[in-house]
């Protein structure tokens, strides 16, 4: 279960102009960050086991989703605006192919963008799909990793040539 009271309290403390504009000594700024992080932590629904580093570690929350055996998860996106919006969801995943379904079970176009950067830790592959969100409401998308296709050894069939 989550509890947002600590975060509310932290946000109240951080109304001070030092927190808003950074005009504080370093250790004060660090304490502001600590209070926010503690408040945020108590909001999280723990133990979803979706992180790259295994079930309990919330630090990796969301990083490297779709690890083996955890190839299924749901994404709930909340829209606080009083009007419908479309939003491109971007989630760090391990490489692979994913199928994304909208709340009505229809498959939506998705992509895994792999960055040509040397350091994949800095730029892990990202799963992209466009979420359509109702006004002041949420939508739930289901994501499943497609098992990697193992090419069966087979003799390629000659392609009948068609006369154009």
């Amino acid at each position: 279960s989550g509890d947002s009271a600590p975060l509310n309290k932290a946000m109240a403390v951080l109304q001070h102009h030092d927190a808003v504009s950074g005009t504080s000594r370093q250790h004060v700024a660090d304490d502001y960050a600590r209070q926010l992080a503690a408040g945020w932590g108590s909001c999280e629904v723990r133990g979803t086991g979706l992180g790259r580093h295994g079930g309990g570690d919330t630090k990796g929350r969301g990083r490297g989703l779709g690890k083996k055996g955890q190839g299924q998860f749901q994404v709930i996106v909340y829209n606080p605006l009083g009007r419908k919006v479309n939003w491109m969801v971007r989630l760090p995943v391990s490489e692979g192919v994913f199928v994304v379904k909208d709340p009505n079970g229809r498959t939506v176009p998705s992509d895994v963008v792999i960055y040509p950067s040397s350091d994949s830790q800095a730029h892990p592959p990202e799963l992209l799909f466009s979420a359509s969100l109702p006004a002041l409401g949420f939508s739930t998308y289901s994501v499943a990793q497609v098992p990697r296709w193992k090419p069966q050894a087979r003799t390629p069939q000659p392609i009948p040539r068609r006369s154009w």
């Binding site: 005009t23 700024a29 086991g49 998860f73 919006v85 998705s110 992209l128």
Partner: protein
């Protein structure tokens, strides 16, 4: 080599193949074309001089010269193009990079900048800006918001309520930008939305700048008694600027709706598979 572009049905961004910098934005719906050169600079932070011993610090922005220095005159770029996103990754230096991003159906350019750790080995404090230079004849005027609501007209070296004797040609023209800053020549308008409060200005006609990060070596004697010298995780900052080009008449509708989306952002949550609560308004 031919210019590099990313575009969708509403907007096209063109990059200079020699420098890798953004050089032009086109609004396809309004057939508006504006040369826009965007890159990063840094002001050398003052430690006090013969005019005043006031140093730049947590409370004070005071560069030691009017002209900022370029982080780099060119960027190493990489292009990522998929059906769902087009991105130009620009690398200006080891501590400054940016991704210019465009999604299908999007009417703005997303500039996701990453700055830090700012090097200070040369014993100079640095105040890093992202600057947009255009040929718009703006006659010394630019516009910034106040807490996302009222838009205020700003005029260079001028105050509406008293006769200003401008002693700080750069800092004296910087204003708080909570959600947006824009410049216009009455016909075209270039608007930049921020994802956090920043300092911003227009120090030359057609030019618009926003301060994205600072790292200073001297305290400004205003009570903190410590320089603004991030050593922890705050040394590295990432944020986004959303860039809109539109006619002066149509611009407000665009930036007001987009700013609402920016400040009332969507929030995703990830869950184990299970009975999916379907979407609910």
């Amino acid at each position: 080599s031919p210019a590099l572009t990313i575009e969708n049905e509403h907007i096209r961004a063109t990059f200079d193949p020699d420098t890798g910098l953004l050089m032009e934005i086109m609004n396809m719906n309004q057939r508006l074309l504006l040369p826009v050169r965007q890159t990063f600079f840094w002001y050398n932070a003052s430690v006090g001089d013969n005019e005043s011993d006031q140093a730049s610090g947590a409370y004070i922005f005071r560069p030691n010269q009017q002209k900022p220095l370029p982080v780099s005159r060119w960027a190493q770029i990489r292009l990522v193009k998929t059906p769902l996103v087009q991105e130009v990754h620009q690398n200006f230096s080891a501590w400054c990079s940016q991704v210019v991003r465009l999604y299908p159906g999007q009417r703005h350019l997303e500039l996701e900048w990453s700055v830090g750790p700012i090097p200070v080995g040369d014993t100079w404090g640095k105040e890093v800006i992202s600057r947009f230079d255009t040929p718009l004849e703006t006659k010394g005027r630019f516009y910034t918001d106040s807490n996302g609501r009222e838009i205020l007209e700003r005029r260079r070296d001028y105050r509406p309520t008293w006769k200003l004797n401008q002693t700080e040609p750069v800092a004296g023209n910087y204003y708080p930008v909570n959600t947006r800053i824009y410049i216009t020549d009455g016909k075209m308008q270039l608007t930049v939305l921020t994802d956090r409060s920043q300092g911003g200005s227009s120090l030359r006609d057609g030019s618009l700048e926003l301060m994205v990060h600072r790292r200073l070596l001297k305290d400004d004697e205003r009570g903190v008694s410590e320089p603004l010298m991030e050593n922890g995780s705050g040394a590295w900052v990432r944020g986004r600027h959303l860039v809109l080009l539109d006619t002066a008449q149509a611009a407000a509708a665009g930036h007001r709706l987009l700013a609402e989306q920016e400040v009332l952002a969507r929030s995703p949550a990830l869950l184990h598979p299970g009975p999916a609560p379907s979407n609910s308004a």
